[in-house]
Symmetry: C2
Subunit: 385 residues, 2 copies
């Protein structure tokens, strides 16, 4: 496989962009990435998106954005894996570069979610779950995660406030990220007193949706020269795995087996172990997911992911810095875009561009993107070279 490097990144602030259309926010991130890379054309476009057909009445986002951005005639496609659509689009681009079929790719993760009412968005998000056997019961996506969190608390004896550090760390880090949706420091007290959504998940356990787009430019690594103070950002590995789509079909609903599988393959391919990871952008759609990701990816034993937060090991100065730019919780979660935001943020860390949230000497970073309640999980490892 031909190794690939990321030479450009771009992103929009995540917000309620009622004054900007789907094509405008996607274009904004794409142009920023192309400018960062110093390129005005690419061989192919890969778009990660989940909801444009239901929320914006627009499909075929590959051609849609190729047209808007001016990549005329170039090949373009959309890739979808629910909330893991962004990372799935990156992986598709990696395959095309690795195959030698293309010499440059633009990958956009984009989602426009706030143009419809809340219940429409809740219904649209629920399409990530099993329509026949989960949604038929009337459960929402938050509801499914609430069942998982409740069971985890019961099984391993944690209290709700033990999850607070995930949210507090994310909010603290987002203060230094101008593209984050929320800029507001929180405390354990505030965390405990926030509104209940689906017991035991309250507002500060849950990530906010939003309109947003992020983009990266991928090229063969051999075409990039490493310079002092400006390392090449290599994609050291990429892996994807699946689990049952319905949570109730899993032998153990408290173990993200697709995270375990994809992380294991990613570590092997990169020739590293979890200890080598300097920064981990994980998929904290809900605080319980942060704990489960840490456990399945080899950073904590089963049922102890929460302890890493309580021990202050997840902040930028800790042993396993996570959500260093705010994570899904505070940077925001424009679902199909999230996977690319995570990769952009790992690149920022490896470039040393994160200011007060910078992880000192970060050289190896990992991004993990989850679709549904863990049905599709992709892990990417990047290395500064």
């Amino acid at each position: 496989m031909r190794p690939a490097a990321i030479i450009g990144i771009g992103q929009t602030k995540i917000d309620e962009h009622w004054d900007k259309s789907l094509r405008e926010i996607g274009g904004e991130a794409a142009f920023a990435a192309m400018q960062d890379a110093g390129m005005d054309n690419v061989d192919a476009l890969f778009v990660g998106n989940m909801l444009s057909s239901t929320i914006s009445g627009q499909n075929q986002l590959g051609a849609f954005f190729a047209d808007w951005i001016g990549l005329w005639k170039q090949e373009a496609v959309k890739v979808e894996a629910a909330c893991a659509s962004g990372a799935a689009a990156l992986r598709s681009a990696l395959m095309a570069v690795a195959a030698g079929e293309i010499d440059s790719a633009l990958i956009i993760g984009v989602e426009k979610m706030t143009d419809k009412a809340g219940h429409d968005v809740t219904s649209a998000l629920a399409t990530a779950a099993d329509a026949d056997y989960e949604l038929e019961q009337g459960i929402s996506f938050v509801g499914l995660n609430a069942l998982i969190m409740r069971r985890y608390m019961h099984e391993f004896g944690w209290k709700h406030e033990d999850f607070a550090p995930f949210s507090i760390n994310a909010h603290a880090n987002a203060m230094h990220n101008p593209f984050a949706r929320l800029h507001e420091k929180i405390t354990v007290d505030k965390f405990e007193k926030s509104s209940m959504i689906a017991t035991p998940i309250n507002l500060l356990d849950a990530s906010p949706i939003g309109d947003g787009a992020a983009a990266v430019i991928l090229v063969p690594a051999e075409k990039v020269v490493s310079m002092p103070g400006k390392p090449r950002i290599l994609v050291a590995s990429s892996a994807s795995a699946t689990d049952t789509i319905a949570v109730h079909s899993r032998k153990d609903p408290l173990f993200l087996s697709a995270a375990y599988e994809s992380a294991k393959r990613a570590y092997e391919m990169a020739g590293i172990t979890p200890k080598d990871i300097d920064v981990f952008e994980l998929h904290d759609a809900f605080s319980i997911m942060a704990a489960l990701s840490l456990e399945a990816s080899g950073f904590a034993e089963r049922g102890t992911g929460v302890q890493l937060g309580l021990d202050d090991e997840i902040s930028p100065t800790g042993r396993v810095p996570v959500c260093t730019r705010g994570g899904l919780k505070a940077r925001g979660h424009p679902v199909g875009a999230t996977g690319i935001y995570q990769v952009v943020e790992v690149v920022q860390q490896l470039r040393g561009e994160c200011g007060a949230a910078q992880v000192d000497g970060a050289r190896i970073g990992m991004a993990q993107n989850i679709g549904g309640s863990g049905a599709t999980i992709l892990t990417h490892i990047l290395k500064a070279d």
Copy 2:
């Protein structure tokens, strides 16, 4: 690039399958392809689909089908490019095989369209067009194609009945395809008298929607042994190109420039010219699209695609056999599945399995899959080796 071969095919009859769910029809085609290939597992799954989120409330079809089929833990993803989703999924799989990342892939094209009312389907299909600048005018997808056909007739002086041979040939060939949606021979008189949908497109210019799924198994060519009477079916080339998403943005709305681009690249990669193509499964969503595809792909001069039909050159014994299993017109058009049906049908021709619709000595076949009104077009060339 590591060459790939197709070693298994499967398909369901296209119909109103009200007694079968999305997962059942997709599974049926997948199991048939795996049985045909003599395999019970694959490294990765690629699903081509356009409408499941809007019609069935189900996204994340990669994990969804991996779960249902029993490909547990394997990577899986959905690829979408409107009606070109099937071919786009195949191309994604080809890249992964070519990169050496996987050694086997299952590609499913699947669409469940008849569970909702007609106007819901019309709205869902319209998402292939430009929501902001075409659909806002109130035009449907058939309406857009009607404008193109009307202009073509005006520009090149053809009458409506001149398009009849496309429909007649498709219906005649479908008689020999048990998986086809329609089994009914038609005549010029019947063609001319059928109900008007959007002038000048009548019912027999238009392809019927339907529920259906088709699947193929892809492996590296080096792993397949060619045997007498059982040739290897190689993917000689794959190419994808885009055009503007809105028809009105094109300099010439009567030229499918993405078909031209993708066919040109596919010919070059395969080292052949249009003359070498023994069978061409083109995307006759509307009869006008058959004419435009033939022209843009190098089989006829501009404005003369219709003449090929009038000269009886498109039947299985003609110079350019098209729609040999019924095409979109009579085999049916379950949109995201169509691209895989086309590939399955080319494989059947190269294997010599088409009975009365067999093209004598077919050794090189082409499949061309169109998304929207020509915004995304993929061309694949297969060779019996």
